[in-house]
């Protein structure tokens, strides 16, 4: 009886712990300034044991931070030093190699004390508006150009915020009010987590988290291993080539699968780029593990134990294990392709379980708007400098039994922003944001459609784009006979092409036109249900010509 009861109580406490970190994440989501946090949920939050092992992570958040943050806390404990950790402390870093892969992400860790004794840590990560340097984009050649780096250090000691640090940051970033605001939000959301944890420990009369942690870890590990036991052991390879900055990048993967775990090795992957598309290993690990978990053990919550059977390696200074001082600002582009690479290898092990390739990397539209000298705004509209950020998604790959999702983020967990709200942020007009007809790869299951975006500067202004788009030369491939999705394209409304990477001014009177890639198809298109083909034509997801060409449908 007692065993049974205590088991029930452990379960309830585990649920509560997940709720505690969820409250922590929601506090951050609500108070953050950064567009990518507030509109899009680009954040993570979690609770850790005294050794820095993650016990629970908030459901709200994005995969790019999953193990990145999980590993970070260990670095913090090492750097700060055990006898330098005090109640009321708060630690900070945006070091890409110690945090989550680029300078724009700040990670905060706060120790959690109970009755004077350290019981664990709270950590959270969020993307801030600016870190100085060149601004968010791929064009730096070293991380030094990408902005200010704050090594792991104390943001606050015994409750006192280090005002010298605040001054330094304030002096080095654009929109400093918002950035500083975000730093305080990060620190205080950890406090919220701590408060909730104390309430929980009061209620359940706990002095420490050890017993609960052991319960969480053993249950998670057992459940994960159960999944791995059923897998056909062996090595499975895959490779995928994408556009890169100025030269194509090939990502090569070998998955070694056994009943002990999965090792993902990226040996053979292209070397570093001169520009900021390089990926620190923490971020490579995060997205590779995300894909493995999605396909193999999706129901098991993320924690130290459930992630431990998944290991990722890559040769030093290949593009997926970039070392300091490589530029890494837009590491998300290649990072978000990793699930395609991993799922492609898994397909060889588990046919008909995983989707075709998709657009995958977000099309993050970073615009700068500047008043034209002697220009004239329209009546009632102001002239001003603005930085505008929009997240947009192409199509996902078709699934074995389902079409791909149109204009939907995968693997990223973010949302788009409302066009109406964006037009209040900066002096632009969005003329078009709708599905891109005919862009889904043909197949028994059709790939998701990409989208088309058209925008221009308002009167009196000129805009530039920090382009960081991929899949313009290398579209998403289909699977099992499915066709590729449409490639992406960066153009002006007169049809002239722009580069898909780097800063470019949009000529006056012209509109920028972005055509986002579609997802790959799954299975032979001739196997597609004719009624669905007819519906796709009626809905203008595909053209009558495409129906004829790809699906052999007579009109």
């Amino acid at each position: 009886m007692t065993d049974g009861i205590s088991n029930v109580h452990m379960q309830v406490m585990w649920n509560r712990l997940i709720s505690v970190v969820e409250e922590q994440a929601l506090t951050l989501l609500r108070t953050a300034f950064s567009t990518s946090v507030r509109e899009a949920g680009d954040l993570s939050a979690g609770v850790f044991d005294e050794q820095g092992h993650m016990i629970a992570q908030a459901v709200t958040g994005t995969p790019g931070h999953v193990n990145a943050m999980a590993e970070a806390v260990g670095h913090f404990i090492d750097e700060i030093g055990g006898d330098n950790i005090f109640e009321g402390d708060s630690y900070i870093t945006n070091d890409p190699w110690k945090g989550t892969g680029h300078l724009h992400d700040f990670t905060f860790v706060n120790p959690s004390f109970r009755n004077g004794r350290l019981v664990g840590y709270f950590a959270c990560t969020a993307h801030v508006v600016d870190v100085g340097g060149r601004g968010f984009g791929p064009d730096a050649t070293e991380v030094y150009e990408e902005g200010i780096v704050i090594p792991i250090m104390k943001f606050a000691e015994r409750g006192e915020v280090d005002q010298r640090l605040i001054k330094i940051i304030r002096g080095n970033v654009r929109e400093s009010g918002q950035v500083i605001g975000d730093l305080y939000s990060l620190s205080s959301c950890n406090d919220t987590g701590h408060q909730r944890l104390m309430d929980m420990m009061d209620e359940f009369r706990l002095d420490d988290l050890n017993e609960l942690r052991d319960f969480v870890f053993s249950n998670s590990l057992n459940a994960t291993m159960e999944h791995l036991r059923d897998l056909p052991a062996g090595s499975y390879e895959n490779e995928m080539t994408v556009d890169g900055y100025d030269a194509p990048v090939t990502m090569k993967l070998r998955l070694d699968v056994s009943d002990q775990g999965v090792l993902a090795d990226f040996a053979g992957t292209s070397g570093l780029s001169r520009k900021g598309i390089n990926v620190p290993l923490v971020y490579t690990t995060a997205y590779a593990c995300y894909a493995l978990k999605c396909a193999l053990a999706p129901q098991i919550p993320n924690n130290h134990a459930s992630l431990s059977p998944f290991k990722v390696t890559a040769p030093e200074n290949c593009i997926l294990n970039a070392k300091h001082p490589a530029p890494v600002a837009i590491r998300h582009v290649l990072g978000q392709f990793l699930p395609d690479v991993v799922l492609g290898a898994l397909h060889k092990m588990l046919p008909d379980r995983v989707p075709a390739e998709g657009a995958s990397a977000l099309w993050i539209v970073q615009l700068g708007a500047r008043p034209i000298e002697n220009g004239q705004a329209a009546a009632g509209e102001a002239m001003r400098n603005s930085e505008i950020l929009m997240f947009n998604s192409g199509g996902t790959g078709a699934r074995p039994t389902l079409d791909g999702l149109s204009a939907t983020a995968f693997p990223s967990g973010v949302h788009t922003m409302s066009a109406e709200v964006t037009e209040h942020v900066g002096p632009i007009t969005i003329w078009r944001k709708e599905l891109r007809e005919g862009s889904g790869g043909a197949g028994a299951r059709r790939g998701g459609l990409g989208q088309v975006i058209e925008l221009s500067a308002n009167p009196g202004h000129r805009i530039y784009i920090n382009a960081m788009f991929d899949r313009c030369q290398n579209p998403a491939r289909g699977r099992n006979g499915g066709h590729p999705g449409a490639a992406g394209s960066v153009e002006l409304d007169d049809g002239s092409k722009l580069s898909s990477k780097g800063k470019q001014w949009i000529p006056d009177e012209r509109r920028l036109v972005l055509k986002l890639p579609g997802g790959g198809g799954y299975g032979d298109p001739s196997q597609r249900d004719p009624a669905l083909v007819a519906q796709d034509v009626e809905r203008e997801y595909i053209t009558p010509d495409q129906a004829k060409r790809d699906y052999a449908r007579e009109n």
Partner: protein
């Protein structure tokens, strides 16, 4: 009208399973419960009316006021039963309602399906014409194209049309002109425009709202017309009013025009019902907790007024998950809904953890103990096994509960899998479902910057009294109220609702560019709109007014609601507005920020009639301890053991009677569990007040 000089008021609530009618004649109250009639919903109301008037001894012609709320609009959206609807939108934005947020509401499901748009792509038409964020016309409306679309709409036989253009909340000219053109070409067709239905910024939410309105409008119009006709045929002469989502009353005519405002009107009635008790007991901070067969709903009520929001989500398709439904941006009483009811099923996941819901046994087959073929253990089965329900007296003895079935189901689904005794498995189900509800309440509180510890819980709905005292323990709440006859709470709530309406509009203002004239004009317009709806009850009404703004620091994505002073603004008032914003911000987040401009995104003017002074509940004088020889073993989760509990019949308790926990107080529909830490005092109005032992009344 009226009878014996006492007014006769009737509330009628159509829910998924039952249609409740409550009649108040002077201080007397009578109710009836009949099965909902899905093909002729009005028939159930007429049946209920006949029944209840007969019991009360009044005629239908004596009724002074009929107030109605219904789940029909919500169900029509969930089941996608609506009119053939076309959507006309801005060129370049055909797919806003299909592309949604471009996000996935579940991160780890590779086979995720998103809810399809309410109006499929082939029924969405685009027209050139464009308004800028500032309200300026960028491109004139292409009237020739609209003419062609109008012809097409006539030919294709649509019954209803939704019109939603970009930035129409700030300049509605194009939408209005488009309506004229369509109406001229297709006379009599039902048309909804986004600038009237939901003039808020954010195109996905607004367009979806206008589409939802158009989609259910013909259906609801026909239903409401039939209801009024049948009521007249039966001799009813009084006006009929509708409960709206925001917790106020509007005329049937307004409801026909804006049926989307009827969504969730039943639960809104429940919250008003709880708010009325809050007023009667002088409680400023209340958490209402309604637990039925499939879901639990939680709402915060402060200063007698249920908390409202300006948008919500209906028809969630994926385990009640946020983001999996349709957003509707209208003012609404804000409820958190959890897949946790008496019928919610317990199961074991792959980590050998007990989970509860959201799958539910529903009314058929119901929990295993109903003996109607249910094989899986529901929360009700767990309650039975833990001694919380009396198998012989459930539902007044109408349903005999089979303990054996509950045991078998519990053993099979949980006990065998986890090697647990069925007692422990039942404890597990109850603790997990209580924890799920507590977590949802806590997250809701943190989103609103509230501490639940100072709240009083008001629990109603069939399963709530069974779980309320444990839930209170988990939330640190030490006082809870369980009203009598809560089975028809929503319908009673309708009778306590004010005439009222909240007009809300997106209009962007940087506080550094504050313009008093512009602000005053905007508020006057909103006031006109709100008054027009609220005064359908009577032009004589004395209306209370509240002006609110949804504000944020420039760059933030999450606005907070700030009450503005109600007066003619003058330039310079931005200092006070900033102060109010900062005060609220500090209250919520602990600190204000320097050097960042403040933006107002949305404005609201709410008017409502002054409510009758609440019937103050006379406090009971001396408390008389009561004892019972009837004993039952119940499990106390906090003590982590079974305790010997006294059993009482609720009807036997008199005002002032005090029952010390652990105890079970049985009534016809349910039982109230009094945990070991609580004592229950029967109040003069029949409520049970549960209070932590040792805590004195305030």
């Amino acid at each position: 009208m009226s009878y014996n000089n006492l007014s006769v008021r009737v509330g009628a609530d159509i829910g998924g399973t039952f249609t409740d009618v409550v009649l108040e004649h002077g201080s007397g109250q009578h109710s009836s419960k009949v099965l909902t009639n899905n093909s002729n919903p009005e028939q159930a109301i007429i049946d209920g009316l006949r029944k209840v008037t007969q019991i009360a001894g009044v005629g239908i012609e004596h009724i002074d006021q009929l107030i109605h709320g219904t789940t029909l609009a919500t169900n029509a959206l969930i089941e996608r039963r609506g009119a053939a609807t076309a959507f006309i939108t801005s060129l370049g934005f055909r797919d806003v309602i299909e592309m949604r947020t471009e996000g996935r509401f579940e991160q780890y499901d590779l086979n995720l399906s998103l809810p399809p748009p309410l109006i499929a792509r082939e029924h969405r038409y685009v027209v050139a014409g464009r308004i800028a964020a500032s309200g300026r016309e960028l491109v004139a409306l292409d009237e020739n194209e609209l003419q062609r679309i109008a012809t097409r709409i006539g030919e294709r036989g649509y019954q209803s049309v939704a019109i939603g253009f970009i930035h129409a909340y700030v300049n509605a000219a194009h939408e209005r002109r488009a309506r004229e053109i369509i109406a001229a070409e297709v006379p009599g067709i039902s048309i909804s425009i986004s600038s009237e239905v939901s003039p808020q910024m954010r195109e996905f939410e607004r367009f979806n709202t206008v589409c939802a309105n158009a989609f259910i409008k013909p259906l609801m119009a026909s239903y409401l017309q039939r209801l009024v006709d049948r009521f007249r045929d039966e001799g009813g002469v009084c006006p009929v009013f509708m409960m709206h989502s925001g917790g106020g009353l509007i005329s049937v005519e307004s409801a026909i025009e804006f049926p989307v405002r009827l969504l969730e009107s039943g639960p809104a009635g429940g919250a008003i019902y709880a708010a009325d008790f809050a007023a009667g007991y002088g409680l400023d901070k209340v958490l209402s907790y309604d637990m039925g067969g499939t879901t639990a709903k939680i709402c915060m009520i402060e200063d007698r007024v249920p908390k409202t929001a300006r948008s919500f989500e209906v028809a969630r398709t994926y385990r009640f998950k946020k983001g999996s439904g349709m957003p509707v941006s209208i003012p609404v009483i804000e409820m958190v809904e959890i897949g946790a009811g008496g019928g919610s099923l317990g199961w074991v996941d792959e980590m050998n953890q007990i989970r509860v819901g959201p799958e539910s046994a529903g009314a058929e087959p119901g929990p295993a103990c109903y003996n109607r073929g249910g094989l899986n253990p529901a929360v009700t089965d767990a309650d039975l096994l833990l001694g919380r329900l009396d198998p012989e007296r459930f539902a007044g003895g109408d349903i005999r509960l089979e303990t054996k079935n509950a045991e078998t189901a519990m053993q099979r689904a949980i006990g065998d899998r986890l090697g647990m005794d069925i007692d422990i498995a039942a404890i597990g189900i109850c603790e997990v479902v209580d924890e799920n509800m507590a977590n949802a309440a806590r997250v809701h509180a943190v989103e609103n910057g509230k501490e639940l510890g100072d709240f009083t819980m008001i629990a109603y709905g069939g399963a709530a009294p069974l779980h309320a005292s444990r839930l209170s323990e988990k939330l640190g709440i030490d006082e809870l109220l369980i009203p009598p006859g809560a089975g028809v709470g929503s319908a009673i709530g309708f009778l306590r609702a004010p005439f009222g309406f909240e007009a809300i509009r997106g209009a962007f203002l940087r506080l550094s560019e504050f313009d008093a004239g512009w602000t005053n004009r905007l508020i006057d317009e909103l006031d006109d709109e709100a008054q027009r709806f609220a005064r359908t009850g009577s032009t004589e009404l004395e209306l209370l007014r509240e002006i609110k703004a949804y504000m944020r620091y420039q760059g933030q994505g999450w606005e907070i609601m700030v009450t503005l002073p109600d007066r003619e603004f003058k330039n310079g008032d931005e200092a006070e507005i900033r102060k109010r914003f900062e005060d609220e911000y500090i209250r919520l987040f602990g600190r204000a920020l320097d050097g960042i401009d403040i933006e107002i995104m949305t404005w609201s003017v709410q008017v409502r009639s002054r409510l009758a002074e609440p019937r103050k509940v006379v406090p009971v004088g001396t408390e008389t301890p009561r004892y019972s020889d009837e004993r039952r073993r119940i499990y106390d989760a906090r003590e982590q053991r079974f305790l010997d509990a006294a059993v009482f019949q609720r009807d036997d308790l008199q005002a002032g009677d005090l029952v010390s926990g652990p105890a079970v107080i049985i009534e016809r529909e349910t039982s109230t569990i009094v945990n070991n830490r609580f004592q229950a005092i029967r109040q003069s109005d029949g409520c049970l007040l549960l209070r932590l032992k040792g805590k004195t009344s305030d």
